[in-house]
Point group: C2
Chain length 298, copies 2
């Protein structure tokens, strides 16, 4: 049996980074330095690593960045007034609040306090609404946008394709469905969203040309659940206890790689597939924000 | 062969109107008169009729209303400044701009100028975004919400059901998909959105427990495209030339009633199905707006 072609995220992300660096150069020639501010609340070790990765990549591309760290005992008002200050600062084009927030903070209220035109993570309701309406003046959330650009890079045509999305979260499932069902390039798919209440999940996945797994259920999708040649995108990440690993756990995706890679035509590795695309889209969105704030005042 | 049960809109709409009238009574006891302002631009005969129907029903329920008519040569700025005035008026809880607008007006800009907390039609991007995110603090657009309440009235359970929506418009298809895929009551369906670029439409409609037709293609859905016992909701409306009709045309839906009613278990008539629900949801949203502006200042 043949093995699925692996859709590595790195080359696709690098192609976007190269374009982003070009755009930064043009902005800098006009005296504009695109800038993103990262906000981290508390000292979650994974968050520290993620923010550092993003800072480093921003610097590489010529994008300015600041990181503001709040104590996890800081009152929510402190974060809200910080957002107000950054919202008014004309030198700041993008703002990213690193998840997770402390559980006593009201994430919905905080996201609504982000100025939508600097919400480069794409989570403000007005940006979500523009996504559903097909209005390109908002920001696409980074992971769904990254999936679309990854498929496009590897010339997987979504037009007319049956796409089945496993999972209806606000970060991946629902915004990806909204993007893929639009009329237009890199979209135009027949989209089905499957979730915990769906009756016969294999019946849906077996008829799909493209299956996107964003459930967070380790090795959920098996080879007998897909049709031969299908394209499989693995987004979910779960921690599984592993005493042989120095960290005591390892990260695994939603796809049972051994069986799926025998049936699928193409498969995104996880890690190494969608992950690198997410940061590429974040920085591309930041440059979008800078271009919009520079070239049109509307 | 048996005939499909007809899901008449009138009794379901009346049940909502009765609840709305009760809620209006409670608001009036506290000195609040819920009020909606209808804005009509130009003298489109159908728009005149629609606005008059809505005014009359509002009055019946004890909801105050004003209708502002602008000339179809009025500059867009006039409409925008009217929206600003109405947005600030504490006596106005809901604003409805009757479609269609003159073609030289920018509908996207006008909808964005609506204050979201008075957008009882549910078309502002922030309300669309809340819909997709599952945030109940916005307004559900009237036709999709009406479909959901119509199904609920006739005890059609959407939880776990395979729902296929024909059409991806911003008025019905996309917002209805967003509503039905949420976790929670009157939702929780496995939703597929099918459209002009979909490959094998009958393959999708034949596996559906519920088919919603919102294409605007006369008599598109035939009996051989659905499974026996399916529930069919007919939303589309097309004008078909008919010299025997005094108006010279008649209105027909997306469903070929003769063949579908032999196969479907339940079918909404058109007209007389979803139509009456739309106005019921508009006035219920207006009372929602008045309750929110009265009981919580946030």
């Amino acid at each position: 049996m043949s093995q699925a072609l692996l859709l590595e995220g790195r080359p696709a992300a690098d192609a976007i980074h190269r374009k982003t660096a070009e755009r930064v150069k043009r902005l800098r020639e006009r005296g504009i330095v695109p800038k993103i501010v990262f906000i981290r609340v508390g000292e979650d070790p994974a968050s520290i690593v993620y923010v550092r990765m993003k800072e480093r990549k921003a610097e590489e591309l010529g994008i300015g960045s600041d990181t503001v760290v709040l104590s996890d005992t800081a009152p929510q008002e402190e974060l809200l007034s910080l957002l107000k200050v950054l919202g008014k600062d004309p030198m700041v084009h993008g703002i990213l609040i690193q998840a997770p927030l402390p559980s006593d903070m009201d994430a919905i209220q905080i996201v609504r306090a982000l100025p939508p035109e600097k919400d480069v993570d794409g989570f403000h309701p007005i940006n979500m609404g523009k996504l559903l309406l097909g209005d390109p003046s908002g920001f696409r959330p980074c992971t769904p946008a990254g999936i679309i650009e990854l498929l496009s890079f590897y010339q997987v045509d979504t037009c007319g394709a049956d796409v089945v999305i496993l999972g209806r979260g606000n970060i991946v499932g629902k915004p990806l469905a909204a993007l893929l069902m639009q009329k237009g390039p890199k979209a135009n798919a027949t989209v089905t969203v499957v979730h915990s209440s769906s009756r016969d999940i294999p019946e849906h996945t077996r008829r799909a040309d493209i299956v996107v797994c964003a459930l967070g259920k380790p090795a959920f999708l098996r080879g007998d659940m897909i049709k031969p040649g299908a394209v499989v995108v693995d987004v979910g990440v779960s921690r599984v206890i592993d005493p042989t690993n120095p960290r005591g756990y390892r990260l695994i995706g939603d796809v049972d790689v051994e069986s799926v890679s025998q049936v699928a035509g193409k498969l995104t590795p996880n890690p190494g597939g969608v992950g690198p695309m997410t940061i590429a889209m974040l920085l591309a969105n930041t440059v979008d924000a800078a271009e919009r704030l520079t070239f049109n005042a509307s």
